[in-house]
Point group: C2
Chain length 487, copies 2
């Protein structure tokens, strides 16, 4: 980074003074390009600057400066979000949290840890593993995503079926509000907070209500044992029914994942191939954890159910190494699509489990209708689908077609009483699709909350809720990104 | 109820027209007296009227009428709340939900049921028990409290240690907002809702943000087996350490309850005596559930821990009958205090589990300082204390002393990083104590939310947050109630 500020822009000069000078701010176009999008790459926009505060006070100063100078701003963690929540669509000042990455304290007795928002998800588990504890939410990006970002998006993960998503593991937050106030919601405290559930409200608010600067999380004791089952099916519907049967039997697996043929093609072509047969229709990856004595019985039940549902082959991981390989293979999931397609768009719909066969069939129809392959790799146990629409942005019109196909998949979810996001958030990707699940009054109840916290909409504005002008502008920019790729 | 309206009050006449006429409204003083308080009996105030709508549309009409005529109003379930949330301190029109008590649907496959707010908590479990399912939140008042009231207060219960409080079991809500809008947050849908967490925000908002008219709850499969342990200790600290040891061992009991000597004296004098020895210092009631194979191992661990902590006697329930008797004895808890004291005030503090011995000792000191007996009967596993301050309101000044002692107990909880309510809510009882855990900015962030939903504060106004005038007025009325009792 530059040692001296090479611009006369007074905002840049002033912002630099609020942090540690030139080494804590980026403002040159070549530096800003890395921040023009997040994990949702279809829309790009350059920020005005990126600042790197090192503590809460600096965050509050930056927020105060932006608020009083009418500069839009937003917070960014590792930038792995999948719905565009960290994209500076208004040329925001990005407040990067990556230097606020301390593990502040661990309190094993009361099962909690306090971290800064830039702390990487998996590091927490790694730090406490030898004491027999872990942090449960495990998004596929857990080796690089930050807990602050997880809070913003209410991130999920494979093991959220049994253990719940991020919001179920947040005990306290310190937050800088858009007016510069610093509030502490139970950050040094315990699980129950009187009054309105601000913790729940801020968690998953996609960076539009405040900037989280400290997080108290729940940590869990490692289960005594875990066992993992891999099952190959010749029919998707048999796999789907097996999912229903397992849950109906009263088993709550720690994870219950499904991949279809196209998804398997992808993960087998990526970094951690397992050797799955290529001609199966679907696989299930099922993990059970708990007390050793109880697990064997559950595993036997699961094997029986798979057999009744005509499984071609089913096996239990023989050791931790095999289990880890199966999971590494699963977790390459989305990125692996790059091995079989120029581009992909991941969707994130949720449906009642009982509708699984019906909705997977509908997604098949959408794939045929748009002439685009759609891979399915998802958290089957909680009905959280991830249709991956494969396309090639270099082909004129295909980006738009992919977006339409993705939207149709979400409509299919909403139509069976489902939802348009389970763990990736709405961001700029699904603003219009919010209308699939909410009417005007319901949207108004939400936007009024934003107005309270964020009256000028300077903090991460123009996201999360449909606003016709904004959606049109984003769609227009998406077309431009597509055109640029074709050129 | 009267067949003809015997008043010329135009509001009463108009409200009657919005429901089924005279049989759906109470307005005579003798009828209103039953509604002058809820489970928090220290403050009383007559409502203007009580109306009994039979569906959402009637609720919306009543709300619209009140809003446009500047009449304060509030919703009431069974009136078992313990912090005064349903007391009409402003002479509200009470909207009673007791006629909206249908079980609308049960969907076992997707583990959810839809109920009206007046549906009684325990009825749901009774309705689905033969199919092998149950509804988890189990406040001690579950045989009469309504699920609507549980949502308002985010009610807990003995089994919330493992299964979570009400908010963890709410999948959707239909709500009439104070402006008359009816919003449906995922009422026919599934677990994940995009946008801000309105479900979480409304659950536990103590009837100040909207009136819930339909509720989708999660239902759970019955555990395969459960076993219950009763352990008697000669020292409170031994019991406290046993609690810590059990949780540290990685066991998550379904319930982990504690009662001290005074509490035992009460429950043994009430409807379901068990024959607990009267000379012990504390007992633990511990329940483990799950897969049969795993439970025996956990029970053995628990017995070992109790022995290491010098238990005098410990036993496992021999059959369902014995288990049920132990629980019936525990659940008479608060009411049982009536057998040993003229009056009692129940508090509801939460502390980190590791602070249990320290805080119980502090409560002892408070008891001595105020010269009032304090019984402790509480959810030890999640650190949710219920000090019961015993007093006699007929003795001049003793009500005030009890209130002060109760407040001191909550301060003791807050001082160790705890909270002032775990499951009973703030209501009118703990408004001032909110300052123990929140500063002005933090309170402002919450009251701004109320302003959004409830700008004129007509819905259940003057509760939940400290406002000096209001607190003084409530305290004054408490003194009047106390004086009236002495007379």
């Amino acid at each position: 980074m530059a040692r001296k500020i090479k611009t006369n822009d007074p905002d840049i000069l002033n912002l630099a003074k609020l942090v540690d000078g030139p080494k804590s701010i980026l403002y040159l176009k070549e530096d800003l390009i890395a921040y023009d999008c997040d994990g949702f790459t279809i829309h790009k926009h350059l920020p005005k600057a990126v600042v790197f505060p090192k503590n809460t006070e600096e965050v509050a100063k930056i927020v105060n400066y932006c608020a009083s100078h009418d500069l839009p701003f937003l917070a960014r963690g590792a930038g792995t979000g999948l719905s565009g929540g960290a994209i500076p669509i208004n040329g925001e000042v990005i407040i990067s949290m990556v230097r606020m990455k301390r593990l502040i304290s661990v309190d094993l007795e009361n099962r909690r840890a306090v971290v800064e928002p830039g702390y990487v998800n998996l590091k927490l588990t790694n730090m406490i593993a030898d004491k027999g504890y872990y942090y449960a939410p495990d998004p596929s990006s857990q080796s690089c995503c930050t807990i602050g970002g997880n809070v913003a998006e209410n991130a999920g993960g494979a093991h959220c079926l049994k253990y719940g998503v991020t919001t179920n593991h947040i005990l306290g937050l310190e937050v800088v509000l858009p007016n510069g106030d610093i509030i502490d919601i139970n950050c040094e405290g315990i699980a129950d907070v009187p009054g309105y559930d601000l913790l729940g409200l801020l968690t998953g608010s996609e960076g539009t209500l405040g900037i989280v600067t400290k997080i108290t999380v729940r940590i869990l004791k490692n289960p005594e044992a875990k066992q993992t089952v891999l099952a190959y099916f010749d029919e998707v519907s048999d796999g789907s029914y097996a999912v229903s049967d397992i849950v109906s039997a009263g088993i709550v697996p720690a994870a219950l994942e499904m991949m279809d043929k196209t998804a398997i093609e992808g993960v087998e072509a990526a970094a951690f191939p397992v050797g799955h047969p290529r001609d199966i229709a679907a696989l299930l990856l099922i993990e059970v954890d708990g007390i050793s004595a109880g697990i064997d019985e559950q595993i036997n039940q699961i094997l029986d159910i798979c057999k009744r549902r005509h499984v071609r082959e089913v096996k239990v991981a023989e050791n931790e190494q095999e289990r880890a390989r199966w999971w590494a293979n699963r977790k390459t999931g989305f990125g692996a699509m790059g091995a079989i397609s120029a581009d992909y768009l991941v969707q994130d719909g949720v449906i009642p489990r009982s509708k699984l066969p019906e909705v997977l069939e509908r997604i098949n129809q959408i794939s045929e209708q748009f002439g685009l392959r759609i891979a399915n790799i998802f958290h089957a146990g909680d009905g959280n689908l991830h249709p991956l629409v494969l396309f090639d942005a270099r082909i004129p019109g295909e980006t738009e077609k992919a977006l339409e196909a993705g939207s149709a998949c979400l409509k299919a979810c909403a139509d069976v009483g489902g939802s348009i996001t389970g763990e990736h958030g709405v961001g700029i990707e699904k603003m219009e699709e919010m209308r699939f699940v909410f009417n005007e009054e319901e949207l108004a109840a939400q936007t009024r909350i934003r107005e309270v916290f964020n009256p000028d909409n300077l903090l991460n504005g123009g996201k999360l809720f449909p606003s016709p002008g904004r959606c049109v502008e984003v769609k227009k920019n998406m077309k431009e990104v597509a055109s640029a790729k074709q050129a």
